[in-house]
């Protein structure tokens, strides 16, 4: 599979009154064409910021201070606002977490899909765009799309709204869809439907999906490869099978054992001790060190991200080979 997106050493800092928050600090990864690439991590680990930085959607006080985002070989971070606008929604589309607030309450669902079409196809009559919108609503499995296209967001259920949001994102047949926790605010049954829908659309349009989530069940269900983030850093990257069967980083292991497995009867869930570090006063060296039971003296230096086996990258001193 060829490479669609390559992020190199991405750094996004937020300049707040309290100090500089290094929300994303030197993140590198690649996304291959046609795959589902997941980013997992706790709240505040920088996964959403990473996703937004890809099309420069970072608002002040945040700033992209370094790195490259190569999309089909083009560095998106070097594009002007006007140029990147042509990429957003056309080549790279987003799906946000909360469907009820990502739709404008004053416009019908059909209009909001049509708007996306007209933005990127100037000259398209709104009438034709609305017709296309109905087709898209049918694609995202909304029953009675003709009627639903005329509904306002508050007249739709949560799952339906998320389908509309997905419809907006696929309306220009993007090459990459970045889904930022698309199922978090939905019912479990609806979650499965939405995930199925995403999979279906991926097959239909050949879209690559970047899925951001903290739900490991979702990750196991749909992804091809997974990246685990912790406190603004990449901790581990592997294909989904390897990650679940052979997690290497202590954080990944902790994350996996913190999820109850319905097939195994266990006495208690093992949470990871401690808390996510205060992002202004980040621990020196490995950021997981204060919570890690394997931590030693060498962890005071920052561990490199190394490839321990083909396609399996981990950032931990335990796997650097050799000692100190």
């Amino acid at each position: 599979m060829s490479e669609l997106l390559r992020v190199e050493d991405l750094r996004v800092y937020f300049y707040t009154y309290a100090g500089v928050v290094k929300a994303v600090d030197g993140v590198s990864f690649t996304v291959r064409k046609g795959e589902v690439f997941s980013i997992v991590g706790e709240t505040g680990c920088g996964k959403s910021v990473t996703a937004r930085a890809i099309t420069k959607l970072i608002k002040p006080p945040g700033r992209i201070v370094g790195g490259r985002v190569l999309f089909e070989g083009r560095d998106l971070l070097k594009l002007s606002e006007k140029e990147i606008r042509r990429i957003r929604g056309k080549d790279i589309a987003y799906i946000y977490q909360d469907p009820s607030s990502s739709l404008d309450p004053l416009y019908t669902s059909g209009y909001q899909i049509a708007e996306t079409i007209t933005v990127h196809n100037p000259g398209t009559k709104l009438k034709n765009a609305l017709k296309k919108a109905i087709e898209i609503l049918r694609d995202v499995a909304i029953p009675d799309p003709v009627k639903r296209a005329r509904n306002y967001p508050h007249e739709l259920s949560g799952g339906m709204k998320q389908r509309v949001v997905i419809g907006i994102s696929v309306s220009n047949k993007p090459k990459l869809i970045i889904a930022d926790e698309p199922t978090t605010s939905l019912d479990v049954t609806v979650q499965a439907q939405v995930l199925d829908l995403l999979q279906e659309l991926r097959k239909k349009y050949g879209t690559t999906i970047m899925l951001i989530t903290h739900n490991l069940g979702v990750v196991a269900e749909v992804s091809d490869r997974v990246m685990v983030m912790y406190a603004g850093k990449v901790v581990e990257i592997a294909d989904v099978y390897t990650l679940f069967t052979n997690p290497l980083h202590p954080y990944t292991r902790g994350l996996l054992s913190a999820v109850p497995n319905p097939l195994e009867k266990i006495d208690e869930i093992k949470p990871i001790p401690g808390f996510v570090p205060d992002m202004i006063n980040i621990p020196r060296g490995c950021r997981f060190r204060p919570r890690c039971s394997y931590a030693t003296q060498r962890c005071l230096r920052e561990p490199p991200l190394i490839e321990v086996e083909p396609g399996h990258l981990v950032s931990c001193w335990m796997y650097t080979g050799g000692d100190e």
């Binding site: 606008r85 987003y94 607030s101 004053l106 933005v119 949001v165």
Partner: protein
């Protein structure tokens, strides 16, 4: 069956089905809210009088009939003079009717100036933030730090007593309030996910402001402006009352009250009827403003629709 046949012919009614539904619902809300309807009736009467008032007066509201002045002066209300007469023998009913135009003119002019200024400055300050926001808001604060009426009196006195100076003075006092409201609203809408989503699909900044922020800001502004219409009329009456604003012989409600004060309380009708006119107009605008708040909220309309059983 009939419906089936009908659906083949595309009538205007069908093409605009959604819009008609929307209007019908609005009407429905009005019907259900007697207060809003009352407000609408008062306001409609006021506006109609403002337009045609001076042409339908039974007597000349301005000209003094010197031949009959002495026997006609300060007459109590009667069938000949519904609201009585003033000290020059002029028919007060005619003067009150004609006075509606002055009030309508002033309040319309003030809104025509204050709303656009408030919108533009508020949107810019709210959306762009930073230094621009600071500059706009600090200037606004300076205006807001004075009580509105006092500032209006000061401006009006400086500009000279006339209707035009009253308009300008009140407008100068009125826009800062709208800037505040629009800015606050813009700030909250700017943060909303749908604006971010619009950015993420590649919509330009100007289009985001026009298509997504402005329409979401305008509803509270319309409500506020409607409620303010009454206050503007009140302030303009106050200006005229203290001798600024409309000058004699222009019939203006505030002015009429001021003139009638000399004869109060024996000749009570002189102040009472202009006061009543102000009272009902201000009340009408307030009731209408309250009703509009409900009507302009699509969620509220739907609630009624659902209660109706999806009619």
């Amino acid at each position: 069956m009939i419906n089936n046949v009908k659906s083949y012919i595309k009538t205007w009614k069908q093409r605009n089905e959604a819009k008609i539904k929307e209007w019908r619902l609005m009407l429905e809300v009005f019907k259900r809210s007697p207060l809003a309807l009352t407000g609408l009736i008062f306001v409609t009467i006021f506006i109609i009088l403002g337009i045609i008032g001076p042409y339908i007066t039974p007597y000349d509201p301005i000209k003094i009939e010197f031949s009959t002045m002495l026997e006609e002066r300060l007459q109590p209300p009667s069938l000949k003079h519904f609201f009585g007469t003033d000290e020059y023998g002029r028919d007060l009913f005619s003067r009150v009717l004609a006075g509606a135009r002055v009030s309508l003119m002033i309040s319309l002019a003030v809104m025509a100036i204050a709303i656009p200024v408030g919108l533009v400055l508020g949107l810019i300050a709210g959306y762009y933030g930073g230094v621009v926001d600071e500059i706009i808001m600090r200037i606004t604060d300076v205006f807001l730090s004075f009580p509105g009426l006092v500032l209006a009196i000061a401006f009006s006195a400086t500009l000279g007593a006339s209707i035009w100076s009253a308009m300008i003075a009140i407008s100068l006092v009125w826009w800062p309030g709208y800037v505040r409201v629009v800015r606050g609203q813009t700030l909250s809408i700017k943060q909303s996910l749908y604006v971010e989503a619009a950015r993420a699909i590649g919509v330009s900044t100007s289009k985001i402001i026009r298509r997504h922020i402005l329409p979401n800001v305008i509803t509270p502004l319309i409500v506020l402006a409607t409620l303010d219409f009454g206050s503007v009329i009140l302030v303009s009456a106050a200006l005229s009352f203290i001798g600024l604003g409309a000058q004699p012989p222009t019939p203006e409600w505030g002015r009429l009250i001021a003139d009638g004060r000399r004869w109060f309380p024996e000749k009570w009708w002189y102040t009472f009827f202009p006061g009543l006119a102000i009272f009902f107009t201000v009340l009408g605008w307030n009731l209408l403003g309250d009703g509009l708040r409900d009507i302009l909220d699509p969620r509220f309309r739907r609630k009624i629709e659902f209660k109706e059983g999806g009619k």
